[in-house]
């Protein structure tokens, strides 16, 4: 029976302790805690989450943190809203509605500082400091900003940072993300946010009734996140950006030997250092945040003839010297099929048909091959499927079902088929390296602030497509002749053998009243491919795309000519 008594003694003992503790807190320490509570004076100030540095393959910095000054306010201390809005809009030229919305919103903790404007310049800082006495509850506070030394040039590649959205918060809450966190919103910053993000720094302070800091209760230094080393070559990235100029379109450069992405550029682009200007969608209907390289889905056009040719040669449907007569027009049942060259190419074999991109020739062999074989070969080269590049939001493109497509249109890359530029880049790389499909990738290494390697990404060969060497020889020869004397002569570079293929989404585009896209894929040097390039131009022709690809390759491979060429280039660019 004695054991039951113990239960009672046990609880008695602890009840005494609890009451004693309450006596201590509520009676003895009452004045102290009352003061703390009445002034609500314990405040947490976060000073930002430091992020890791992003380097290119040669150690050039593409993104880094820098100290900055933010304009913050304490919602609870804002008494005369209208007055403060007036002053703020006068001295910083804020949009009144924007401040009113921010200041009058309900906050979970009205004593936590909220950022009103990031990265004040020195003039703004001094203006605010001068008027500080008229602005109770408003402060200038140190923070962190992200700097992108290449600004627009690396826009789509790196992405940008922004405050976590409600839906992101719900998804990421478990990973320790919280309201107000600044996270990567696109590109590499988003894809590797978990690695880049460090631990937030902050101080907890006791403030007096006016909100002035009185005593620091605790301070925690922020810890930077991990650094990234990319496969990107900043020089090539710059070249690609400069050569695309202000044309809408995109360029991507890859090493066909291993899938390392060397450059990714897409236009129109935003400036990550001046984001607010671009975030206003009404002012920017041209969608500056769309990375065309991975999200643009276009009919591959004549570039698809690479697939048709491989399929035809591999299945033995035609031999190298089998000829077809192109009269510029072809009637199939009740439809009329045109070649892009109205007067026709005459009698051509595959060695001439590819360089001249003869639609009649490829249409004819496409009909012989049939839709299902064409689709099978397209899928063999992983068209219509995300490449798995380490960027967020890659589109898949679309390979039609057998019943959706007709062989004539499909064989020349028209109709319901769409691909992304990165898929076509992968295709030309596979031709260049003889059948290996490498997964394109951008991050090589993740390195901790202490210098330890956290993760290393090695090239990943997704698949080997067996291609007969004779087929390859014929195809490559044809691709070389595209640039030698065919549709891609504007890509020609003296002293460098380039193999490539033009593509224009012509007919389908006209039917659906879409803008035509000029495209060009190529690799160089011909006998030892080191670089593959894809260029897409909105509202452009494929020879224009070829010219841009040629200029990029020239600047990569023939550096001694860069200087004088570069000067004239920049002049043009400055105009």
């Amino acid at each position: 029976m004695g054991r039951e008594i113990f239960l009672k003694k046990f609880i008695n003992f602890f009840i005494y302790i609890i009451l004693l503790r309450c006596f201590y807190l509520q009676i003895i320490r009452y004045p102290y805690y009352y003061q703390l509570s009445i002034r609500n004076c314990i405040r947490t100030i976060e000073t930002g989450i430091p992020r890791g540095i992003i380097y290119d393959r040669n150690g050039r910095i593409l993104a880094k943190d820098a100290p900055s000054a933010n304009l913050v306010f304490v919602p609870y201390d804002i008494k005369d809203v209208e007055n403060e809005i007036e002053i703020l809009s006068n001295i910083i030229g804020f949009d009144k509605e924007y401040i009113r919305k921010k200041l009058t919103k309900k906050y979970i903790n009205p004593f936590d500082r909220v950022i009103l404007k990031r990265d004040l310049n020195s003039i703004e800082i001094s203006l605010i400091e001068e008027n500080l006495h008229k602005l109770p509850g408003i402060f200038v506070q140190e923070g962190i900003k992200r700097i992108y030394p290449f600004s627009k040039k690396t826009g789509h590649l790196l992405g940008y940072l922004g405050e976590i959205s409600q839906s992101q918060l719900e998804r990421l809450k478990e990973k320790g993300y919280k309201i107000g966190d600044i996270i990567g919103q696109d590109g590499i910053e988003k894809q590797y946010d978990e690695y880049l993000k460090g631990l937030p720094g902050g101080i907890q302070v006791e403030v007096d009734a006016l909100g002035h800091q009185r005593r620091i209760w605790g301070k925690k230094e922020g810890e930077p996140g991990n650094d990234l080393i990319l496969t990107i070559d900043a020089t090539i990235q710059e070249i690609a950006y400069e050569e695309l100029r202000d044309r809408n379109g995109c360029v991507a450069v890859i090493d066909p030997r291993n899938g390392e992405i060397l450059a990714i550029v897409s236009n129109p682009v935003f400036d990550p250092n001046n984001l607010i200007y671009y975030l206003d969608e009404k002012k920017h209907p041209e969608k500056p945040f769309l990375n065309r390289v991975i999200k643009g889905q276009y009919p591959p056009g004549s570039i698809f003839k690479i697939i048709t040719e491989i399929a035809a040669l591999e299945t033995g449907t035609i031999k190298e010297y089998d000829r077809v007569e192109c009269t510029g027009i072809m009637e199939v049942s009740d439809r009329i099929f045109h070649c892009w060259k109205e007067e026709g190419h005459g009698w051509v074999d595959i060695n001439l048909a590819l360089p001249f991109s003869c639609n009649i020739f490829f249409g004819t062999i496409g009909m012989k091959l049939g839709v299902s074989t064409l689709i099978e070969y397209a899928k063999r080269f992983e068209l219509g499927k995300p490449t798995g590049i380490d960027l967020p939001g890659e589109a898949s493109g679309y390979i039609p079902m057998v019943q959706e497509a007709d062989p004539l249109n499909l064989s020349i890359g028209q109709g319901p088929i769409t691909t992304t530029p990165i898929q076509l880049l992968s295709l030309i790389s596979t031709v260049a390296n003889g059948g290996n499909i490498w997964q394109p990738f951008i991050v090589k290494k993740i390195i901790s602030p202490k210098g330890e390697i956290i993760k290393e990404f090695t090239p990943n060969m997704k698949k080997i497509v067996p291609i007969d060497s004779e087929t390859l020889d014929i195809l490559r020869k044809g691709l070389k002749n595209v640039v030698e004397f065919g549709t891609g002569t504007r890509a020609k570079v003296e002293g460098l053998e380039i193999a490539g293929k033009t593509g224009t989404a012509q007919r389908a585009a006209a039917e659906f009243e879409l803008p035509t896209h000029g495209a060009f894929v190529c690799y160089a040097p011909f006998d030892n491919p080191k670089i593959a390039v894809v260029v897409f131009l909105d509202y452009g022709s494929s020879p224009q795309a070829a010219e841009i690809a040629g200029r990029i390759l020239k600047r990569i491979f023939i550096p001694e000519k860069i200087e004088d060429k570069n000067e004239t280039e920049t002049e043009i660019f400055d105009e």
Partner: protein
């Protein structure tokens, strides 16, 4: 009217356990009402709590003449079901701190029910066997151990601790020897580094924060500090009902669940705390009485288990809000907002009441 009042007074004096628990629930709802008038108007959880209390009263009515002894048979079935539910929670919430199974508007929390089920199964098991025999002790350890580990992995440190207390309480009344206790204690010490290893970082952090609150002034230390400010600023008589500033201004996170005691302390002061604590004590001592009266062993063990569960929750919850115990996150039964917790508490009281009623039959 007068008669009704008299009836209520009598219920109080007689320590009618159902009456006492509903008195606590009523206090809880008032506190929640006050707490829901904060700066941020959350969906009023106090209305939901009223709904749960009503559902609870229906249960009380349905089971008014029910004999708890049928639980001896069903205990193992419940045990089996709850293990499956706990596993579902674990698998579903892999890598996340997830304790719930969503059922529309209601988030079902199996770990709350697991406590009661473990009490029933352990009592049923030990009521027929002698715990002083080693195999019996071992099996009892396993009975508690499996749900303990499942809950611990969630991770839900607070509930896991309650499991330990339930085991200790029932085995103590069942007559565990001093030697066995010392053995278990040593075992716990030896395995504690192991437990430390499988603990989640945030759990370690909480314990370290408890030892040194200034370790993380922005995170966990903040809760503790704000909790102390809230309680301390209540003073002798408090700031008055609905007039608490700390909780209203949402300095304190989770003030409507784990930190609900702070609202009482802030608004009603030290006097309120004394009254509240004594009332709770009154309720707990009633359970001890039931343990005394009860001659049938199963009932005695169940009552003990429920006592330990309530007392453990009460002491740990107050302990952590007052900064004398690490912040492990467990609710204050009857008072904190939460459907699962309230229903389990009411079910426990129904069982206690049945044990009390049927005690004279033997």
């Amino acid at each position: 009217m007068k008669q009704k009042l008299k009836y209520l007074m009598n219920s109080f004096k007689e320590k009618n356990i159902i009456f006492l628990s509903y008195l606590l629930i009523f206090i809880g709802i008032c506190i929640l009402f006050s707490a829901s008038k904060g700066v941020i108007t959350k969906e009023s959880f106090f209305i939901k709590q009223i709904l749960w209390a009503i559902i609870g009263s229906i249960l009380v009515y349905v089971f008014r003449n029910w004999n708890y002894r049928s639980l001896e048979k069903f205990g193992y079935l419940f045990y089996f079901i709850i293990l499956i539910l706990l596993s579902i929670v674990l698998i579903k919430g892999e890598g996340r701190a997830s304790r719930w199974i969503g059922l529309g508007w209601f988030y079902f929390q199996p770990s709350e029910f697991a406590k009661l089920v473990v009490i029933l199964v352990l009592s049923s098991f030990l009521s027929k066997r002698d715990i002083r025999k080693f195999p019996v002790l071992l099996v009892s350890l396993i009975i508690v151990g499996i749900p303990f580990l499942l809950v611990f992995k969630q991770p839900n440190l607070g509930t896991a601790i309650i499991f330990i207390l339930i085991f200790l309480g029932i085995s103590y009344i069942a007559g565990i020897t001093r030697k066995q206790l010392i053995g278990l204690f040593l075992l716990a010490i030896i395995s504690s580094p192991l437990i430390w290893m499988i603990m989640k970082d945030y759990q370690k952090e909480r314990i370290l924060t408890f030892l040194n609150p200034m370790r993380d002034p922005l995170g966990k230390g903040y809760n503790l500090l704000q909790s102390k400010i809230t309680i301390g600023s209540g003073g002798l008589i408090g700031k008055g009902f609905m007039k608490g500033t700390q909780t209203k201004l949402a300095f304190l996170p989770e003030y409507h669940t784990d930190f609900i005691f702070c609202v009482i302390a802030e608004e009603f002061g030290f006097l309120g705390v004394i009254i509240f604590t004594l009332l709770y004590y009154y309720f707990l001592s009633k359970i001890v009485e039931i343990i005394y009266i009860r001659k049938d062993i199963f009932g005695k063990f169940v009552a003990t288990g429920i006592f330990v569960m309530f007392a453990g929750h009460f002491l740990i919850n107050l302990g952590m809000t007052l900064g004398i115990f690490p912040i492990v996150g467990i609710p204050l039964p009857f008072i904190s907002y939460g459907g699962s917790s309230l229903i389990v508490s009411i079910l426990s009281v129904i069982i206690l009441s049945s044990i009390e009623k049927h005690s004279t039959l033997f």
